[in-house]
């Protein structure tokens, strides 16, 4: 019945996505008419939250929790408490919501962020790993988040982070979101040969790009292979001369020139 009524005049409704001020005004009028309805306070609280009006959002959501089922608003209350860095309270809300809706990816991500901010990196990593296991289809960003934590954790470290990124690439392909981070991490521990190897493996057509040649040159220079680096810089220059000029290519040409000047 609710859905049926809700679908009245659907052709108009589906086109009508209101701006935030209109939403807040309307909800405020509705609350004046029906002050005991928790759903109204929940809606307005979320609207305030979207507008980053945290105090107003907190007030509405807390009242909604008093009036109705507190688990329904626990996620949004947790987000606000996290904003205010009220970590124990935020943690309690996220735990409550996850008990209510187990495996909710949004709640897991927020709890991971909370755990990260409070130094519980192991816990944060566990949450991100849960996201990796749960999210279908998999997404590169989950591996990036987990790898960032591994770098910080002595029990894991850079090599474990790289291994996780490789797991992601085994599943998703050698995507640049993960490979570029892996290259960066290889470089951070001085493994420039591994970094250059990764760059070489970053796709069949990649070496036709002057941007790729430039990155390769930078890695080789860092590894002390000046002569090879010069070759790549030379190739990059030749490639750039054949391509139409774009702002990005003009900028690259400037950087190329600067690097050549620094490492003649």
């Amino acid at each position: 019945m609710l859905i049926l009524l809700g679908c009245l005049c659907l052709s108009t409704l589906v086109q009508a996505h209101p701006g935030l001020p209109a939403t807040l005004d309307h909800l405020t009028r509705m609350i004046a008419e029906e002050p005991g309805n928790p759903s109204l306070y929940h809606q307005r609280g979320v609207a305030y939250l979207h507008d980053q009006q945290y105090r107003a959002a907190l007030s509405d959501l807390q009242y909604a929790a008093e009036l109705g089922d507190p688990r329904m608003v626990a996620l949004h209350l947790g987000i606000i408490q996290l904003h205010y860095k009220n970590y124990p309270m935020a943690r309690d809300r996220f735990d409550s919501y996850l008990a209510f809706r187990p495996g909710n990816i949004t709640a897991l991500q927020y709890r991971a962020r909370l755990r990260s901010e409070t130094g519980d990196l192991e816990g944060a990593l566990a949450d991100y790993r849960a996201v990796i296991a749960l999210r279908q289809p998999a997404h590169p960003v989950d591996y990036l988040s987990a790898a960032a934590l591994m770098v910080e954790l002595p029990a894991y470290g850079v090599e474990a982070a790289i291994a996780l990124l490789d797991q992601g690439m085994a599943k998703l392909g050698a995507v640049p979101q993960l490979q570029l981070r892996a290259i960066e991490l290889e470089g951070s521990i001085g493994r420039y040969d591994e970094a250059t190897l990764r760059l070489q493996l970053s796709g069949p057509g990649a070496s036709s790009s002057p941007f790729w040649q430039f990155e390769m040159a930078k890695l080789l220079l860092a590894a002390g292979h000046t002569e090879r680096a010069q070759q790549h810089l030379s190739i990059a220059g030749q490639q750039l001369s054949k391509l139409r000029r774009t702002p990005a290519r003009v900028k690259l040409a400037d950087e190329l020139h600067a690097l050549l000047v620094r490492s003649p």
């Binding site: 809700g6 996505h17 997404h139 990036l144 941007f211 139409r244």
Partner: protein, 523 residues
Amino acid sequence: MSCKWSCVALAYVLLLPLVGCSLTPVAPPSSPPERLFLQQVSSSRAIVKWRGEARQACVAKTMRALSRRKKAHCVQAHATAGDHQEALFTDLERDTRYFYSVGGLTDPGQWFQTAPATGDAPSDGNIRIWLIGDSGTASEVDPQTGEYTHPGEAAAVYSGYQAFSAQQDDEPTDLFILLGDNAYLEGTDAQWQESVFDVYPALLKQAAVWPTIGNHEMGAGTFDICLFREMPQCEQGPFMIHLGGTSVAADPGDYDGNSDGKPDGSGMPYLDIFSLPARGEAGGVPSGTEQYYSFDYGNIHLVSLDSQLSARDSAQRAAMKQWLVTDLETNSQDWTIVFFHHPPYSKGANHDSDLTEHSPIDRPQFDLRTEFTPLFDAHGVDLVYSGHSHSYERSYYLRGHTGTSDSYSHAEHAELIDGDPDAPSLGQGPNTYAQVSPTSGDVDDRVVYTVAGSSGKADHDSGMTEASVWLRHPAHVRQAADPQGRNGLARTGSVLVDVSARQLTARFINELGEQLDYFTMTR
């Protein structure tokens, strides 16, 4: 020849003219697929995808060879999500027409043309692209009356395109691009059937379809109907409904197709229906997700971004941007076209791009404008297509415009004729747009943005957009065909893009097959 085989052959010869399809002598044909379409057609590979009992597909260069299975190349299909079957053909010859059969059933209309070699224009000199946005009205029903709200409008737009194409040269469509909101209201599998597979069946058999995710592909979100409509029921309090197209979730696992306010648990039908090149299978840099991807077709590089899901989460958005930069850095094609659902610039009904920074549902319009349009400028993107607003709006040849419409000026952001700040170029007649603009210091840094969201219905009023600014975004070209001379058209229609080695022409074609706008870009 044994009696058995000669009888089969005789039956085949006699029946063929009658039934219009051929029967293979080795296996009885399957019943026709419920849906049949092409995916990832590139210069060397193609996917034939369908739903039905068939488990094998074959290709050959002629219908005759296809009927003689010895000269056909056949592969077993494998099952994919959503009860689909798909057959992958590899090692195909470039720029070549292949006929195909599914489950032994052939049809003269079942053929595809592989892409030219990467970087090359096709042998016929032209690549034809058809783009439709917000076309999914064939499944939109008024619940009170049970009647379709826009009966036949999507089909009429298709007919208009066919009529225009027939008048021109009747060249086949090479690429069929969906700009999102192609199956109202929740993007369920049944709605995809009704709005896409039942509306464009002949085209889907011949041209690979390349989609992007719109808000209606992501099912329902929670809404109070009383925010929009005064009804007696609203006096009792809010009427919370779960309305298609209003989800603000960033995870496809949150898809709610049955509007019960909870995730269905089955994921997005969009991701089940389409097989998209997340691993760079058709050229381009692998994205690792079917939510956004790129591909090459001849001398064109095309990118589909995800403005509905990935754009809503800052970490996902950053990852998509990083991928896009790498992809565009690697690209050296003659032309580059990007498409996604939420338009960076629009004064369409309900989707005024100036009011999106604080709009939960339309926030992607703001983020795409502020974060992605600078990348398009920097990396030589030529055309950007979106939908969402149910109208046609087309920009001048822009660069550097990331603000709201009040910050726009012809002098700063548009290509000008003879430097006259009151004469922005329309890209028509003698004033074609040069890809490497002489007024930009011989740098390719300009883009034409088009909103093409009226392929299933057109807005009849301004809705939530202030009436005085409806279709009046100053960065958009004033449309001669609009009775009020506004910068857009509230007409149903679609976009046709013809691309050759040196020239590109984009047209807006209405449901009657009339060209209402066009521009040309040269290189």
